[in-house]
Symmetry: C2
């Protein structure tokens, strides 16, 4: 028996974690840096992030949000204003204490201590809220709808590229509203935007829902989440949206004169998504040959590799490659790769990068005006057709490509959606040997919650769609109506 060969040295079945690293390295998406817990996002990975940014940014602006920029460094004492918030982030803040280095005993050491230590932002509710407090006087100044694309630091002891790094890139939306109703609607609307992005753009299956109280964002009244299932059955939180009540408005004094003439605190929200989504994209769509990119975030849909043999027709082959590009660039993003690297190496590089269509063009294709290409998502199927047909079909091929990714992901996820587990014993048995999304009932009480931690799983969310049916609480055996999703997670 000969094993099927793959473009990666390790498969998902052999070692999911090593495979994940292999996809990232194989596609030149990112690499670890010499700085503990921080990664380098390489050109191909960053091009994916730029496409994600551009799509989300347009949507945010369409909904009336403006981009801003607020300071990276936040005085530590500002955090003290919101007790839950500081408790939530105190253990993972990078703290700046000095503002120069000086040479002493053969090395550079920190000097010139700061009067007040500054934290590198782990998130910006307080520093942005402080500005909002200056911007808001009357209800006429509301709503304030802003967003910022930036880097944040949350110190992590155990890191993993994209999923858990000390520094990451993200967007953080922050809004202030006149009424609770409006602010709750904003949090819900942005939750919907994330769901749209993850389902319709990234072609991933996900469950939108609410976090249980004990797992809310530090300082939030309500935390909405998008939980996506990875191919190993674990859950990845892809984005969150929070209704913050008056908590932060009170901490930083965002007060306004209302329609009734008296002073009120604003209701605020925040919502964010990060480079972590690239990790999710990988674990949802990549296979043992590498990445698979949904078309909207793919730097290229088509790459064209000329097969040159040092023969007199080489020039014509290159010209023909450009002709193919001309014929399809109206409907797709195309790259003709003229680098001096063997064609087979290029092809496998693009397979690992997840480029949807990889064309190999040699003397045969030139003479017959055909295109020979590999369909990345379709088991690397090889197809040959006339240039005319290829040009007429490329738009449809790209739609099919996305459909295939969506279908495969949905199928893989549906196989790991577990129903029918009714007792804690069954739950324990299941997670001791397997993983997946277990749909169960919960009473909503904290009783026996610690048992869940012991299984190294968590309540990922209370799905937005609640059946309302009566059942037995997975933790207490008592009557319960709340549907929950339990899973291991990243």
């Amino acid at each position: 028996m000969t094993a099927k060969k793959h473009a990666l040295s390790v498969t998902r079945d052999e070692d999911f974690s090593a495979w994940y690293q292999a996809v990232i390295i194989g596609a030149s998406i990112a690499e670890n840096s010499s700085v503990r817990g921080c990664m380098v996002i390489k050109p191909f990975g960053f091009a994916i992030w730029e496409r994600m940014q551009s799509i989300l940014d347009s949507k945010f602006k369409e909904l009336g949000h403006s981009n801003c920029y607020f300071p990276l460094l936040i005085p530590v004492d500002l955090f003290e204003r919101e007790a839950e918030h500081v408790a939530g982030f105190a253990k993972e803040m990078a703290i700046v204490t000095h503002h120069r280095i000086e040479y002493k005993d053969g090395k550079f050491i920190p000097s010139s201590p700061l009067e007040t230590p500054l934290a590198i932002r782990p998130t910006s509710e307080l520093i942005i809220g402080e500005s909002m407090s200056r911007w808001v006087n009357s209800y006429r100044d509301l709503p304030i709808l802003i967003n910022q694309w930036c880097n944040v630091i949350r110190w992590e002891m155990r890191t993993r590229m994209f999923l858990r790094t000390s520094e990451f890139l993200w967007q953080e939306g922050h809004t202030a509203h006149e009424t609770e109703e409006e602010a709750r609607l904003e949090a819900k609307t942005m939750h919907d935007v994330y769901q749209w992005f993850i389902e319709d753009v990234l072609k991933m299956y996900c469950i939108p829902g609410e976090k249980p109280e004990h797992d809310r964002f530090a300082g939030a009244v309500k935390t909405l989440t998008i939980e996506a299932m990875m191919q190993d059955g674990k859950s990845l939180q892809m984005a969150t949206s929070h209704y913050l009540g008056n908590n932060f408005a009170k901490a930083v004094n965002i007060q306004f004169q209302g329609r009734d003439g008296s002073l009120h605190y604003a209701h605020t929200t925040s919502w964010g998504s990060t480079t972590r989504m690239i990790g999710g994209l990988i674990m949802a769509h990549a296979d043992d040959d590498g990445l698979n990119l949904p078309s909207q975030v793919a730097p290229y849909h088509v790459t064209i590799i000329p097969i040159l043999k040092g023969i007199s027709q080489d020039g014509e082959i290159i010209e023909y490659c450009h002709e193919i590009k001309q014929s399809i660039q109206k409907d797709s993003r195309v790259f003709v790769d003229l680098k001096e690297i063997p064609a087979q190496n290029k092809k496998w590089d693009y397979v690992r990068k997840g480029i949807p269509f990889i064309c190999e063009i040699g003397i045969n294709e030139l003479q017959n005006k055909t295109v020979f290409f590999t369909r990345r998502a379709n088991e690397l199927e090889k197809v040959r057709m006339s240039l005319e047909e290829f040009a007429a079909s490329i738009g449809e091929f790209i739609r099919e490509h996305d459909e295939i990714l969506k279908r495969k992901n949905a199928l893989s996820c549906s196989q790991k959606m577990i129903y029918g587990i009714k007792t804690f014993e069954e739950l324990k048995d299941f997670f001791s040997q397997s993983s997946g999304f277990v749909m169960a009932k919960w009473s909503g009480s904290k009783e026996n919650l610690e048992q869940i931690d012991e299984l190294a799983i968590s309540i990922r969310c209370l799905p937005r769609e609640q059946s309302g049916d009566l059942g037995k609480c997975i933790l207490t055996g008592k009557d319960a109506t709340i549907d929950i999703v339990l899973a291991k997670s990243y």
Copy 2:
């Protein structure tokens, strides 16, 4: 005598520095934050920056550069690898020394010290060079052409919004090449890109040139600069491009196997431009009524303000505003302002923001199908014309607007270009009572250089266009051929 009224409370002549602040506040571009030395870039200011980014980013990509992202935090010992570089930045680095805070005696204090202190990047030559050293093996891997858009920190004791802030946003390009010739060409090409951007996009007069040796970037072999003249006759360095020789390649070991089979160090460059350009834009084009925006970086070219009087035709007036928008949006960016604020306040807000064309549309305009508008750059000239004519002319009006800005700026600058100062005494006299760009001769030696510091001026650059004529060195009186620009600067 009645003084002309202005939209700002202070004029350039009264107090240039206070006027600069008033422009920024009046146009809601930015504000100081509660964090020492760091500012908040507000939505209108950030929209200008986004347009700058988008124009430069497209140009960088057109020239083959890819965006990446590298860590914010850099181990202090990495800086020690390049002696001049660390000396240049040691006095202004924010240093992270702890990775959590804990509650003690009623307040939060830093805890969990790091083994190696980390500097927040003041620039990224070393951390990016370190990655390049992993990416380069053979001459076939070169050139590497990358860029990153990010925040950096250079600790400043005396700060000024956009011009000198502890944190600022920028792009930093970093490239590695096989030969010195290629790297020098890259540094020159990017210098040309900045000149194009400042002259053709920002419509500012500038002098491109080279920094004298004593004022090069720390670690560079050659530093190219764009010096722009502000309305007070001072110079602002708008962007720089450096040829770094092998200095950084040796520090971080960017070595490759050359065409001759032996190992060589790469030749590297770096080039950057920052949010400081917004400060330059203000000091070049703003007037006593506020900002003036060149069309390519203006968030809007046209704003339309409905003049509503609580009459029955109000609905029709708003409809007509949208009709105007429809008629001109092919050739311009338009915003219909429906906020519940008095129309006069809106108008003066847009004057202060520097929107090129501000339309006020009431019952009269509705009934006659006309447009009444203020031309911001043209002494607030008020014009009325038919909608048809306005729609047909808007593209041309925008071109004229840019021409006016360019002409005014060139005129203002030419009046402050000083020739004919031949001795140090004359130079001293001039700068003791005035400011401007003094064109003089220099021998290139360091003799008497310290006298220049005493005048609080500096050699801004050796302009790219050198006459080659023989003259007398402004510092020593000896024969000299090098043309230099001397000025006060920000």
